[in-house]
Point group: C2
Chain length 329, copies 2
């Protein structure tokens, strides 16, 4: 009987313990209390300050605010960049967060708060969030693709994030999908997947298509470098032929990288998330994937929409620290 | 004292137990006794007969021959095709072995011999062999690339083969490295890595290069469809300019797929094996990889030559069954 009560208590602890989830991006920091794989509060947003010290202070400040009204058992931080999860340090720089590389985030925040802290690459955190919240716990291999300005990938194998030999697994934005040396990626390499399949890839495709056209021929013509993702997707929605053509080619480019991941990892399921996900035509993407993947792999492959959307990073990071805490209960 | 002796015995059993390793290819079956990650006998070779029943009989016949002179504790079979390792059945067809798909190889051979049998995809078996024999047991992630007529990949993570959700992980010969829809692969898809980076890819590149040239300009000209890998590599060795150009482009194509695997899996080490491995210029390949991979991944990435060569499949398959037996000791 005593055992039964103790196991009930464990179960309550495991599902009801709250943690702070923080998503640290180049322009803003989002934070919310997370409990049982979902947000327990509205998220708070702060603009990302310049410099590592100020970023850490901003996170601590958000934490203090939430602690006034909530019990917080730990802090999970999803950040851009390559993260050494053992030390909780960003080891690979990200252009969006100058000075962030080399900051021992976990150590600093643990010392200042006396709470357990987990720091994770943002695409990995989102992947873990989708895995935990999306009813996907029976999956052997889940590949979560974050489509935004760039492309990030998180890989969950047998319930655990696969992080590679040097914490850099899933840097799939930089898989090479063409031999042409045609598009230069922001990383300095040519023909990276994200130079085609991410938001900026869509814009580059549209620029190529409307080059030399007049505004009578496409509303995207003559915009030069001021062309944006929003302009292309909005024009496509209004029926602009060239914008629709750009969207179709974007799906081909998206598919090219996914075909590669399908043949390498043979996942049960792809989950798409990120700001560009809303523009994905799932019927078209599935058709392209079936067409370009070995039948054995294609016929059992699911492609799903994210269940957490922009909250995936916060929820995943918080759930990672919660799962570590409860594994020790 | 009794414990010590028992553990000594365990250790002897674990390193000295022999198994039969069988490598089952489209043209020949090779088999040898394997002990402690190396061949304990000369391999025997048989031409691969037509039809699943005859293939199974040929394997049983080879086993009987070896059993006359050797104690055999188990049988490891490396075969072309996608293998369900739980059932020991080939579940994905291979054009080279008609009728092989759906054969419950493991069940048949276990029933006929009363020995434990492990059946594994050949690229996976080679990868496991390299992992066990190559001093690579401390590696977090090892990617073994078999370069032959096609390309096969085996992935070892934390000492275990990663086989995917439907046993098809590492079908990397079919990752897509170009957007051009230019080269049709034998699988029916366009622009698969092996249509460029395998032996037949090298030949296709050479054909493109010498198209329209005369025999005065290149010894490869005018050969049409009779051009072979051997002809290209031999001409390159003799200094033929176009053959050397084909070899240089082949390295670029090889690199394209490896860049993708590096950014996806972030391995410690690539190992190259297979019939085409002998033609790889490792200095050139390393230079290309450094040039086309994110520095964080490239700077710690090793590229090694196989230590087992053509024996990798036999040794890996046998070692897999031995490791299963000794795990149960």
């Amino acid at each position: 009987m005593a055992n039964l009560q103790s196991s009930d208590l464990d179960s309550v602890l495991k599902t009801k313990m709250p943690a702070l989830g923080v998503d640290l991006g180049g322009t803003k920091i989002s934070a919310a209390v997370v409990c049982d794989q979902q947000l327990a509060t509205e998220p708070r947003l702060e603009p990302t300050p310049h410099g590592a010290d100020k970023i850490v202070e901003a996170v601590l400040c958000l934490l203090s605010e939430f602690r006034k009204e909530h019990l917080i058992a730990g802090v999970g931080i999803a950040t851009a960049g390559i993260v050494n999860v053992d030390t909780g340090e960003v080891v690979g720089s990200t252009g969006n967060l100058p000075g962030w590389e080399g900051t021992p985030i976990r150590t600093i925040i643990e010392r200042r708060t006396m709470l357990p802290v987990h720091v994770e690459n943002d695409a990995n955190a989102s992947a873990y969030g989708e895995f935990r919240a999306g009813g996907l716990r029976d999956k052997r291999c889940l590949v979560v693709i974050t489509l935004g300005t760039g492309i990030g990938v998180g890989i969950v194998v047998d319930g655990r994030l696969y992080r590679g030999a040097h914490w850099a697994a899933g840097e799939c934005g930089h898989i090479r999908i063409s031999l042409d040396n045609k598009r230069l990626c922001t990383c300095g390499l040519f023909d990276c997947w994200e130079a085609y399949g991410a938001g900026r890839g869509l814009v580059a495709t549209a620029e190529e298509l409307v080059c030399g056209l007049t505004e009578d021929q496409s509303e995207l013509a003559g915009k030069g470098k001021s062309l944006t993702t929003q302009a292309v997707t909005a024009a496509a929605a209004r029926g602009d032929i060239m914008a629709r053509r750009a969207m179709a080619i974007w799906h081909e480019h998206l598919c090219a990288g996914m075909v590669t991941l399908a043949h390498t990892l043979d996942p049960d399921c792809f989950v798409l998330t990120g700001g560009m996900e809303q523009f994905v035509d799932y019927a078209l993407l599935s058709e392209l994937m079936t067409d370009r993947t070995l039948p054995r792999i294609a016929e059992k492959l699911e492609i799903r929409r994210s269940v957490l959307g922009k909250d995936g990073g916060m929820i995943g990071a918080a759930q990672l620290v919660l799962d570590q805490i409860t594994a020790g209960v």
